[in-house]
Amino acid sequence: MRNRTDRAYTTYSNKMEEFEVPKPPRTNYLNAEYGLKSWLLTKDHKRIALLYLGAISFFFFIGSLYAMVIRLELLTPQGDLVQSSTYNKVFTQHGIIMVFFFLIPSIPATLGNFLIPMMIGAKDLAFPRINLLSWYIYILGGIVTIYALLAGGVDTGWTFYVPYSTTFSNTYVIAAGLGIFINGFSSILTGLNFIVTIHTMRAPGMTWYRLPLFVWSHYATSLIMILGTPVIAITILLVALERLAHIGIFDPAAGGDPILFQHLFWFYSHPAVYIMVLPAMGVVSELIANFSRKNIFGYKFVAFSSLAIAVFGFLVWGHHLFVAGQSVYAGLIFSFLSFAVAIPSAIKVFNWTATLYKASISYDTPMLYALGFIGLFTVGGMTGLFLASLAVDVHVSDTYFVVAHFHYIMVGGTLFGYLGGLHYWWPKISGRLYPEGWGRFSALVIYVGFNLTFLPQFVLGYMGMPRRYHTYPADLVSWQVLHVLSTAGASILGVGLLIPLFYLTWSMRYGQIAAANPWNLPGLEWQTASPPPTENFLTTPVVTHEAYEFALPEHKQIVGKFERQKSVET
C-alpha cells in the first residue's frame, strides 16, 4: 500500500481519524418540505437547480429527437423521410431548442446554481427570489417556443437571417423569436445573480484566488450573459417589428441593410458560444484537479484566461461574415482577432494536461468525461483555426465542416462538461451514488458515438456539402458514405445518452447512500452533508486553505461539520 512514498509525501491514511459509516442526514434540502407547492415556490438555489435540471433534460430530449430525424433523412441523397419544408423546420427547431433551451442554460442554471453558493460557503445566491423568477421566465420562454413548434413550426434556421425571416418565411417566426426573447431575460437574471453572489457572499477567508475555477469561469460567463444577451433581445425585437410593420431596418428596398442583422446577431451569438463552453471549462478544471488530487497547474493563468475569453469573445463576431459581403479589411481584422481568442483556450488545455503530470489519477466516470473533453475540445478548437483562416473559411463556411466544428465545441465541450459535472456532483445533489460501471461504460459509448458522428462531417464539409441541405447530389458517392457513417455514430451516441438517463433516475431511489464527501476532496461543497441541508452549512465556514489543497488535510480548518468518510467502493 505504501509503495509510492517517493512522490506521495503524505497520505490521508495516517492523518485521518476513524471513518464514519455513511448515513443520510435527517433533514436535507430534499426532504425539508414536501409537496408540489414547496418545489414551485422554493427559494432554495439547490431546489431551483433541480427544477432547471428537469426542464433542461426535457428540452434536450426534444432537441435530440429532431437530431435523429436529420440524421435519418441524410442517410440517402434523396429526400425520402420528410418533405423539404418539414426538414427545414426540423433543423431550425433542433438548433433553437438545443442552443437557447439546453446549451446556454445547461451548466450555469443547474450545476452553477447548485454549486456556486456551496463552493464559496454561502447559504444561497444573493437574490433567491430572482433566481426562482429566472426559472419561471425560462419556462415561459419554453412554453411560447413549444407553442411556435406545435402551431406549425419555424423554418428560418436558428440564425433567423433576414430578409428570409422578415419577409419571406410563412412560419411562426415571431412566436419562436418571442420565446427566445423571453428566455434571454432568464439568462440575464442568472448572470446578474452570480456576479453579485460571487462579489458579496464569499465566506470569511474565501479570497478571489482561493475560488474554485468553476466559480471563476461562471463569473466570466455571467459577464457575457449580462452584456451580450440584451443585444440578441434587441435584434429579435427588430426582426419582429420589421416583419409586422416593415420599418426598414434590414430591408434594402426601404433603405435597410440585411448584413446589419448578421452583425447584430453574431455580436451576441458568438459570445454565446463562450456562455456555453466556459462553464464546461470550469467543470473540467474541477474534475482534472480533484481526480488527480492536485492543484491545477497555473491556477491564475486558467482563471484569467476565462476572463480573457469573455473579453476577446466580444471582438470576433465578424468571422461569421467572411463571405457575407463584409468589407475585406473587416475580414482581415476579425480573422486576426479570432486567432487571438484561441490563445487563452490553448493555455487552458496545456494547463489541464500539465496538471496530470506526477498526479494521482483515478479513472472514475467524471474524469473520463473530463479527459474526453480535453481531446474533443482540442479538435474543436483547432478546427476553429481553419475557420479563422480567411481563404480556407471561404471554402468551408456554411458547410458541414462548420457543423462538425461547432458540434465538437457544443457536444464534445459543453455536453461532456455537463455530464462529467452531473456525475461528479451527483452524490451531493441526490445523496446517492450512481453505478460506476455503467457510468464508465456509457461515457465510453458516448465518446465513440460522438466521434463517429462528427469526424466524417469535417471531411464532408471540405468536400463541399453545404449545411441545411435536405438532399444532396447522388453522383457524389463519398458524400453518402460519410453521411451513413455519421448516422451510424449518431445512433450509438443516442443509445449512449439514454444509459445515464436510466441509471441516474434509478439511482435517485435505489442507489447506494452517498457519504458527505465520497471522493475525499477538500472543496467546500464536500464539507457538508449529502444531500446538504437547506442552509448548506450548519455554521458559516471559515476558509484557511487554497483551492485544491490536498496535501495537508489537517490544515483544512473548516468550522462547522467536517466529515471525512471513506469513499464507498462500487
Binding site: S169, V323, L371, T378, S389, G464, Y469, L476
Partner: protein, 341 residues
C-alpha cells in the same frame, strides 16, 4: 485521391491548389497538437494512475516560463495561419480587370446567368477554361450564395447590392455549384453545374446560342424607354444629369466633397435612390426608379453604362443595337448535366 470514395473535392481552379495547401498545413498542425495533447494525456493517465487509495501527490504550483512558452508558440503558429490565409483571401478579393463578366441573379430557387455577349442560362453556367471569369451577382428576394467546391470559391448574394467573385478554371468538366446560404424550402435544390469548356468548344457554344441581345444592348433599350435620355443625353453624353460616357470606373466628386469610384454598386444606387449621392454641380432632380425595373433590368442598365466607358474592352463589342430591344427572359439551357468529369 482518385479512389472510388474520394475524400477531397475536385481541384479545378487556379485557387484550389493554394487553398488545399493551406488546408493540409492546418490539418498537419491540428493532427500534431491533437496527438501531442492526446499522447501526453494517455501517458500521464497511465503513468500516474492512482496506485494507493490514500496517496497525495506533491503539489506543483505552475511555471511562468512554461505558460509563456505555450502562449507564444501557439500565437506564432496562429499568425502563420493568419498571414497565409489573409494573403490568399486578399489576392482572391481583388477582381481581375480583364475578366469575362457574367451577370448572376438568384431567386427562390433558381439561378439566372447572363453572359456579356447576351447568352442566358438557368442553373447552368458555361465558361471557357483558363480564362478569368467574374460573376456580378444579386438577388430578387433573400440572401443566396454561389459556392463552387471544385474552385474553392463562395460568396453570398445579397439583396440590394452587387457582390462579386471570380475564378479561373484549369480543366474542362462539369462541376457542381450550390447555394450555400439557407434560402427557404428548396434551398438544397438551388444548384447546378458549371460547365468548363475548351475555348473552341466555348466559341461553338456561344454561336449556337446567339441571337439574344447583350445585356448592354437591352440596357440601351431600357435607357430609351425609361426616358433617361432626356437628362443624360441621347447617347449618355449628359445634360441636366451627369454624363454617362466614361463614367464607369472614373472618380466622381459629390456635392458634399466626397470622392468615390463609380462601380456597379454606385450605378445601382443612383438608379434606385438617386438622392443618396448627388454629383457636384447637379441638382437633386432625378426620380427614383425603384419598383420600375427589376434586378435583371437593373443589371442591363448598369451593363449599358459600363459599355459607355471605353476602358472596358470586353463590353466594347456590345455595340448599341436597335433601340427598344426587349430583354429576352426565357432561358435556354443547352447542355445536359452529366457526371463530374
Amino acid at each position: 485521391m482518385q479512389s472510388t470514395v474520394p475524400l477531397l473535392p475536385e481541384s479545378a481552379s487556379t485557387l484550389s491548389g493554394d487553398v488545399d495547401a493551406l488546408y493540409f498545413y492546418l490539418c498537419g498542425v491540428t493532427i500534431f497538437f491533437t496527438l501531442l495533447i492526446g499522447g501526453a494525456i494517455i501517458f500521464f493517465v497511465i503513468r500516474y494512475r492512482r496506485r494507493n487509495l490514500f496517496e497525495i501527490p506533491r503539489p506543483i504550483e505552475g511555471s511562468t516560463r512554461l505558460e509563456t512558452l505555450w502562449s507564444v508558440i501557439p500565437l506564432l503558429i496562429a499568425m502563420s495561419f493568419f498571414f497565409w490565409g489573409a494573403s490568399l483571401f486578399y489576392r482572391q478579393y481583388r477582381p481581375p480587370t480583364n475578366a469575362l463578366e457574367v451577370y448572376v441573379v438568384g431567386k427562390q430557387w433558381m439561378w439566372k446567368f447572363q453572359h456579356s455577349t447576351g447568352q442566358r442560362e438557368i442553373n447552368e453556367l458555361h465558361v471557357p477554361v483558363r480564362r478569368k471569369i467574374k460573376l456580378i451577382m444579386t438577388t430578387e428576394d433573400v440572401i443566396h450564395d454561389v459556392f463552387v467546391p471544385a474552385f474553392r470559391i463562395k460568396a453570398d448574394v445579397v439583396p440590394g447590392r452587387y457582390t462579386t467573385e471570380w475564378f479561373e478554371a484549369t480543366k474542362p468538366g462539369h462541376y457542381h455549384f450550390f447555394c450555400a446560404e439557407y434560402c427557404g424550402m428548396n434551398h438544397s435544390g438551388m444548384g447546378g453545374w458549371v460547365v468548363v469548356m475548351e475555348p473552341t468548344d466555348y466559341e461553338n457554344w456561344l454561336s449556337g446560342n446567339a441571337g439574344q441581345g447583350s445585356p448592354a444592348a437591352a440596357g440601351r433599350g431600357l435607357f430609351d424607354s425609361l426616358g433617361c435620355a432626356s437628362c443624360h443625353g441621347a447617347n449618355g453624353e449628359g445634360g441636366r444629369g451627369p454624363a454617362l460616357i466614361g463614367l464607369f470606373g472614373s472618380k466622381v466628386v459629390l456635392n458634399n466633397g466626397q470622392t468615390l469610384t463609380a462601380d456597379e454598386g454606385y450605378l445601382r444606387e443612383s438608379i434606385l435612390n438617386p438622392q443618396a449621392k448627388i454629383v457636384t454641380g447637379f441638382g437633386p432632380i432625378m426620380p427614383s426608379f425603384q419598383g420600375q425595373v427589376n434586378e435583371e433590368q437593373l443589371l442591363q442598365l448598369v451593363a449599358f453604362v459600363k459599355s459607355l466607358s471605353a476602358s472596358k474592352p470586353e463590353t466594347v463589342s456590345a455595340k448599341p443595337p436597335p433601340p427598344g430591344a426587349k430583354p429576352n427572359t426565357t432561358a435556354k439551357p443547352s447542355a445536359t448535366p452529366g457526371n463530374e468529369k
